[in-house]
Amino acid sequence: MNALATDMATEPDAAAETASREELLRVDNVSLSFGGVKAITDISFDILKGEIRAIIGPNGAGKTSMLNVINGFYHPQQGTITWQGKERRKIKPHEAVSQGIARTFQNVALFKGMSTLDNIMAGRATAMKANIFFQMFWYGPAMREEIEHRKKVEDIIDFLEIQAIRRTPVGKLPYGLQKRVELARALAMEPDLLLLDEPMAGMNLEEKEDMSRFILDVNQEFGTTIALIEHDMGVVMDLSDRVVVLDYGKKIADGTPEEVQGNQDVIDAYLGVAH
């Protein structure tokens, strides 16, 4: 009896663990449309601190639009967003960055003419403040700031194992590496919430494995909360703590990977059953 109790205390089940976690972000009844096109209809879900939250669904389901709402790029016509317990007013994307929300893009959105190092350094734009007059003479605060941020960026470069391409213009890198540099740039923003829009699209198996490892490491070592859009079901099942499923702009399921996998609506959506 006693032994059983201790057993249960040391190995709490996954559901209990998530339940005890604090809420980082919540969207309530969010709707977004472009002219006549309804991209998102009345969606509510939450993201808990420290979890990996997958957002899945067929093409055009509204996943990317959802991320764009979360980072202030789109403004929903209806609904509210609660960030760290406070209802958020309408914000601009750069404000989202300073509040701790960073993202990567479905189509790589790097600065093609800049080196890997400069791309990642650009991720620290909001954190760097040195006055233009110090910059002009590369003096005092400007130089100290540059070095301080360079150190952080070098840590990220080591972490993602991209030392060798530090000076390469990113336009010349293969696609898989570009995706990795984009992750590095997002990490440079030191986000509390990291939004990843199909980070493994177009990658081969080996690259996917690397990327999965990095995502898990980011989550575990830095405690970064991650919202992940991904089409590869294997990856989603392996990485995520909870999954929200969208279809035609509506939420059709929400739960642990196992729960979602067995959900009839989800199976229908993926098999393309007529609505």
């Binding site: 790097l110 800049m114 233009i132 002009m136 400007a142 360079r150 740039r185």
Partner: protein, 358 residues
């Protein structure tokens, strides 16, 4: 000169972020400075100063200013000539109002006027891009030259409508006006150009440079990584117009000696744009290479007939010059959009790897 980066390991980020992390680059720049500050002054003739060295430096500086805006920040401007005019007229007015002012102080101050005007005309860039922005800057070009003509206060109500540079001196040496020695004026220009170029290098390799380049490469992504596009674009307009304005002040006070409004008209804007394109957009060095080419070409063309003994009239040479420059621009735009600076980069790369090309 042989480039070797092997064996030059950086033990600190300070060292890696030094102006010239590769030692050979440092020697190269030292060599160029030596040429500019010692060799040329010792050897050049009055003609060389006036027809080659001084104009190369001034045009290179103006192109550098334009390059900050167009090459680094991706905002095309067709109004460079007019912004040079703002710098020139501002210097002129400052020197009339306070005649005892140091001419360098006047030129560096006048840059703030062109910067302010640049920011004002840069405001549309927050709304429009590309072709439409280029047209907006063209409107600035027309408006400003019109202002230089119509606003008599700017040229002190001279009957000629032109501004004329009065004699002024620094530390007892005459630096402007008809009696100033070409070698003195050359040094004045060289010092200003060196200083401004160094500042431009610092700005482009740091936080602002990254903001500008990010805005150029993908403005939406720049915004989404937290870069304020407004700050990026307006600082680019300000810094660019400042440098262009300083170049305008130098143009009139240390080279031409006098100027009419039409000096700052569209042909000047295009000449500077061509230098930036041929030299290489997004490069500092390129502006100098481009300026050397554009300034030297007509001079060399002029020398050919007399040395070869072929009689060619000057109008034909003029046409020939325009044709060659036009062909070069088209060739560069199609074949090597990064201009002469890229050739240098390729050669440098080859030397670093030499003799093992892999």
């Amino acid at each position: 000169m042989i480039f070797r980066t092997a064996g030059q390991y950086k033990t600190s980020y300070e060292a890696d972020q030094a102006l010239f992390p590769v030692k050979q680059d440092f020697y190269l720049v030292l060599g160029i400075l030596l040429l500019g500050y010692v060799v040329f002054p010792l050897t050049a003739s009055e003609f060389t100063f006036k027809a080659l060295l001084v104009p190369v430096l001034i045009y290179a500086l103006a192109a550098l200013g334009l390059n900050i805006l167009t090459g680094y920040c991706g905002q095309l401007s067709l109004g460079t000539g007019a912004f040079m005019g703002v710098g020139a007229y501002a210097t002129y007015k400052l020197m009339t109002i306070v005649p005892e002012m140091n001419i360098f102080a006047a030129i560096f101050l006048s840059g703030f006027f062109s910067a302010a005007v640049g920011v004002a005309f840069g405001l549309p860039s927050l709304r429009i891009k590309g072709f439409y922005l280029a047209i907006a800057t063209l409107a600035a070009q027309f408006f400003l030259v019109w202002l230089f003509e119509k606003w008599a206060w700017l040229y002190n109500y001279n009957a000629s409508g032109a501004i004329e540079v009065a004699t002024s001196s620094v530390f007892g040496i005459t630096v402007t006006g008809p009696t100033a020695l070409p070698i003195v004026q050359y040094y004045c220009v060289l010092i200003v150009v060196t200083l401004v170029t160094w500042v431009a290098i610092n700005l482009t390799r740091g936080r602002y440079g990254r903001m500008w380049k990010a805005t150029r490469d993908m403005d939406i992504a720049a915004e989404l990584v937290g870069i304020k596009l407004m700050t990026a674009k307006l600082t680019a307009f300000a810094v660019s117009s400042y440098i262009v304005g300083v170049a305008g002040g130098l143009l009139v006070f240390f080279w031409k000696g006098a100027a009419e409004p039409n000096l700052f008209d569209i042909p000047l804007s295009f000449q500077i744009l061509f230098i930036a394109i041929i030299g290489g957009l997004g490069s500092i060095l390129g502006n100098f290479l481009g300026a050397i080419l554009i300034v030297a070409l007509p001079v060399i063309l002029n020398l050919i007939p007399s040395t070869l003994g072929i009689p060619v009239d000057s109008a034909t040479l003029e046409h020939l010059n325009v044709m060659i420059v036009g062909a070069l621009i088209i060739a560069f735009l199609i074949l090597e959009p990064h201009g002469l600076a890229r050739f240098y980069a390729i050669i440098r790369e080859k030397f670093i790897l030499w003799p093992f090309p892999y």
